[in-house]
């Protein structure tokens, strides 16, 4: 699991890669906190997330809800099929302001 600022041109966009599950959430959260301390996150690219479970989803929701609470709403701009399956199951597309199709492509 890794988090990284995607491009220099869009520093508020964050890319998550790898497995986002109970095994990695601790580490992911630590990284996210570090990232948040540097700069707000406005967009999430989940196209490289290979696996998402309940714990991973919870981190995503937490990220969105806290961002919302701070008045800096966050959008998921891209996601993988693994993510899409979960989001569809839980009907979260709207809530995460998702506009992309589950292709791995981006809509920037």
């Amino acid at each position: 699991m890794n988090t990284s600022r995607a491009t220099a041109s869009d520093p508020e966009r964050l890319m998550l890669t790898g497995e986002l599950t109970i095994y990695t959430v601790g580490e992911t959260l630590a990284q996210l906190r570090a990232q948040l301390a540097e700069q707000p996150i406005r967009a999430l690219d989940l196209s490289e997330v290979t696996e998402l479970d309940g714990a991973g989803l919870q981190v995503l929701l937490w990220l969105c809800d806290t961002a919302q609470a701070r008045g800096q709403p966050l959008r998921v701009v891209a996601h993988s099929t693994a993510v899409a399956e979960v989001l569809n199951l839980l009907q979260l597309n709207e809530r995460l302001a998702l506009t992309a199709s589950p292709s791995g492509g981006t809509t920037s």
Binding site: L29, Q58, W62
Partner: protein, 732 residues
């Protein structure tokens, strides 16, 4: 629960609710915008309607429903709360009480209503109706009503899942359950929510589970199957399942059951499932935002649920009443966590038994002493200590705060003052003072009488008050406090005061006193406690029928209490009632006089002095003594009870027991001081009813009987002797 005990519970509940409604109405009179009180009135009617419905008391349901609806409109601001309306609401409250009484007494719910009562109800409802019609121009009122009765149901299963913190660590992935559920049917609506606690950014722990789900599910399954889906996570999540087409009451119950800060999104889910309509939710939210201005977000969120419930948006279609009772039952359960309702008789029995125990343990002490078993003393002391602790605690059980009973007088004052066209304020202080419930019950009648007297005879009309340079509003003050084992209740008014000249004239005319008798101010005042003396020339329907203060005095004295009166013409009247805290067991001080033994309530004993020996004690005259330059009246018990032991006559040393009651002090001259003991008060039989100066009797450890002295009455006797009327009251 048998039907009968259920009915008892219903009655108790109704009484409580009506009381709170009355309190709220009184508060509303001062501040018609007080939302809390408005809610209380609404809730009272609402709950009575609900529980009344369970028993099938249609008349109650019908009546309270109309009042409830009106209150709903008042709360939403559609109907202004005017003074006449409050007046009508008071009448409605009383009518509800009568309805409940009548119907419960009739025993069968279907019994036809007493036509007079029905008529009264109809009149009240008619008085309410125009108020509702005035507010009707806003069309909003009507749709509300219609929608309320519309059964909106859902064909979906509704599930709520709340996972525990450790779920992830226990190897549970909530998503897998949802996937499995999805394989059984269709997840029509899903709402995911984090526990608000997760939003505290610093403490959020990614490995703890904060997830909650609300699911609207469609599928050909039965409830056990659905529950089975989550069986594996049984320990890790709270699951609620509502069947399709559940009576809406259940949704309501669900809403009521979720934590307050969760109500928002659950309400949202209900909306999507179709358990309530968008309009209803919106209305609830509007009400919320208008009511919730200036509150914390938490408080505002909490409101949504309450408002939805109160508005009846998610109105149970069929079993509304049953659910209301469940709600009430839940509220009661919470109360019961702190309180246990106990039959007063059982408590009484317990206290009787403890009384016997006290006597027995005193007997043991005597026997041990007689047998001279030194080793036993310590054990006996221990038992004695425990018995006195048990006694105190048991008596404590019956102690109630007097305030609850005093608050009912607010209504009395309000009603009576309206009727008489007076402005009267009732102020109650010392409501937290505790005393025995049996005493409270018995003193309510005399108190009511005194307060009515104060209002009727005491406080003048505003015009007269202003003319006398007093504020137009009169004040009746009730004050209660503890004083040396007694409770003192003062009822004071700032009214006209008693006219001693008129009392005297009246007393002379009915032959109570002779025209040439000389009476002090106090003595004249005391005349009004004599039977058949009322100074108000015109008997009103409130007081002044001539059966007044004498009954009050008799009632108070039956409780071993005293009543005193002080009054200044033009300034007001104060009646002071002094009552023992309990009727059963007291700490006593045993003394001997002649061949007999007497008990003086220990709380009233100030000190003991040896008569004659101490230099500070000087006989002043026959009935006074000079104790450290303080003049004390005294009574020699052997003289009072005429039981002096001739053998003792000469040269024995007497002791003086100084007793106090209120601010009075007096001395009792006795032969021997025998020490403290726990005293179980046994009432004396009817034969001794007129015996003054004695409050009761007790059985000593030796099996002998000792009389318990009534200090206040003794003082009165002493006074009588001094003023020379010289009757031998004690032997009357």
């Amino acid at each position: 629960m048998s039907l009968d005990s259920a009915r008892q519970a219903f009655l108790a509940e109704v009484a409580e609710l009506l009381q709170s409604m009355e309190d709220a109405l009184l508060a509303l009179e001062d501040d018609p915008t007080d939302a809390e009180s408005l809610n209380a009135v609404f809730r009272a009617m609402h709950t009575i309607k609900g529980t009344g419905g369970v028993f099938g008391y249609d008349a109650i349901v019908e009546f309270t429903h109309t009042v409830e609806t009106l209150m709903d409109q008042v709360r939403s601001g559609q109907v202004p709360l005017t003074r006449p309306l409050i007046e009508t609401l008071f009448a409605c409250r009383d009518h509800s009480a009568q309805l409940v009484d009548a119907i419960v007494a009739a025993d069968t719910p279907d019994a036809p209503l007493d036509p007079e009562l029905a008529q009264a109800g109809a009149v009240l409802l008619a008085r309410l109706a125009p108020a509702g019609a005035v507010a009707a121009p806003a069309p909003t009122a009507t749709p509300t009503r219609e929608m309320r009765n519309l059964p909106v149901a859902s064909d979906l299963w509704m599930l709520t899942l709340k996972f525990k913190r450790d779920s992830f660590r226990d190897g549970i992935d909530p998503l897998s359950f949802l996937r499995y559920l999805g394989s059984l049917g269709e997840l029509v609506h899903v709402a995911v929510q984090l526990d608000p606690e997760a939003l505290r950014i610093e403490t959020f722990d990614a490995e703890s589970c904060y997830l909650q789900f609300g699911i609207g599910f469609r599928g050909e399954v039965d409830k056990p199957t659905l529950a089975g889906v989550f069986e594996f996570a049984d320990q890790d999540c709270e699951l609620r399942i509502l069947e399709p087409d559940t009576a809406q009451s259940k949704y309501l119950e669900l809403l009521a059951a979720v934590p307050d800060d969760q109500v928002g999104w659950i309400g949202d889910l209900l909306l999507r499932i179709g358990a309530l309509t968008a309009g209803e939710l919106e209305r609830a939210l509007q009400t919320q935002s208008s009511e919730g201005a200036g509150e914390t977000p938490e408080a505002r969120k909490r409101r949504v649920g309450e408002i939805l419930v109160e508005q009846g948006s998610i109105k149970p279609a069929v079993v509304e009443q049953a659910v209301r009772t469940q709600d009430a039952a839940r509220a009661r359960r919470q109360e019961e966590a702190h309180f246990i309702r106990v039959d007063a008789q059982r408590l009484g029995h317990l206290i009787d038994l403890i009384g016997e125990l006290v006597t027995s343990s005193a007997a043991i002490r005597v026997l041990v002493k007689r047998a001279g078993i030194e080793d036993m003393n310590e054990v006996v002391d221990g038992v004695d200590y425990l018995v006195s602790e048990i006694r105190d605690n048991a008596l404590q059980l019956r102690m109630v705060q007097i305030g609850e009973s005093l608050s009912r007088f607010k209504r009395v004052v309000r009603d009576v003052s309206h009727e008489l066209g007076k402005e009267i304020d009732l102020s109650v202080t010392g409501g937290e003072t505790e005393l025995d419930k049996t005493v409270v019950e018995k003193m309510i009648d005399p108190l009511t009488h005194l307060i009515r007297n104060a209002i009727d005879h005491g406080i003048e009309t505003p015009e007269i008050r202003l003319a006398h340079g007093k504020p137009a509003q009169g004040t009746v003050r009730i004050n209660a406090y503890h004083d040396s084992g007694h409770i003192v209740v003062e009822i004071a008014d700032d009214g006209a005061g008693l006219d001693t000249a008129r009392i005297r004239a009246k007393a002379e005319s009915v032959g109570l006193i002779k025209p040439d008798e000389v009476l002090t101010h106090e003595e004249t005042l005391r005349l009004i406690f004599a039977p058949g003396l009322s100074t108000k020339e015109q008997a009103t329907n409130l007081s002044g029928r001539g059966v007044g203060m004498d009954v009050v005095r008799r009632n108070i004295e039956a409780l071993r209490g005293t009543v005193e009166l002080d009054s200044r013409l033009g300034e007001g009247t104060q009646v002071t009632i002094v009552l023992p805290l309990t009727l059963a067991i007291i700490d006593g001080f045993l003394v001997g006089a002649g061949p007999d033994q007497y008990v003086i309530p220990l709380a009233q004993v100030a000190e003991c002095v040896e008569m004659g020996a101490a230099s500070g004690v000087k006989r002043h005259s026959e009935h006074y003594i000079n104790l450290r330059n303080e003049v004390l009246p005294f009574i020699r018990l052997t003289e009072l009870f005429e039981n002096a032991d001739p053998a003792h006559r000469t040269g024995h040393r007497e002791s003086l027991v100084v007793v106090r009651f209120g601010h009075h002090k007096m001395g009792l001259v006795v032969d021997t001081l025998l020490g403290e003991l726990q005293t179980v008060i046994k009432p004396l039989g009817k034969v001794f009813e007129r015996l003054r100066g004695v409050a009761g009797a007790t059985i000593l450890g030796t099996g002998d009987i000792a009389l318990i002295l009534d200090v206040a009455e003794l003082a009165a006797i002493a006074e009588g002797q001094r003023s020379g009327s010289g009757k031998r009251l004690a032997s009357a």
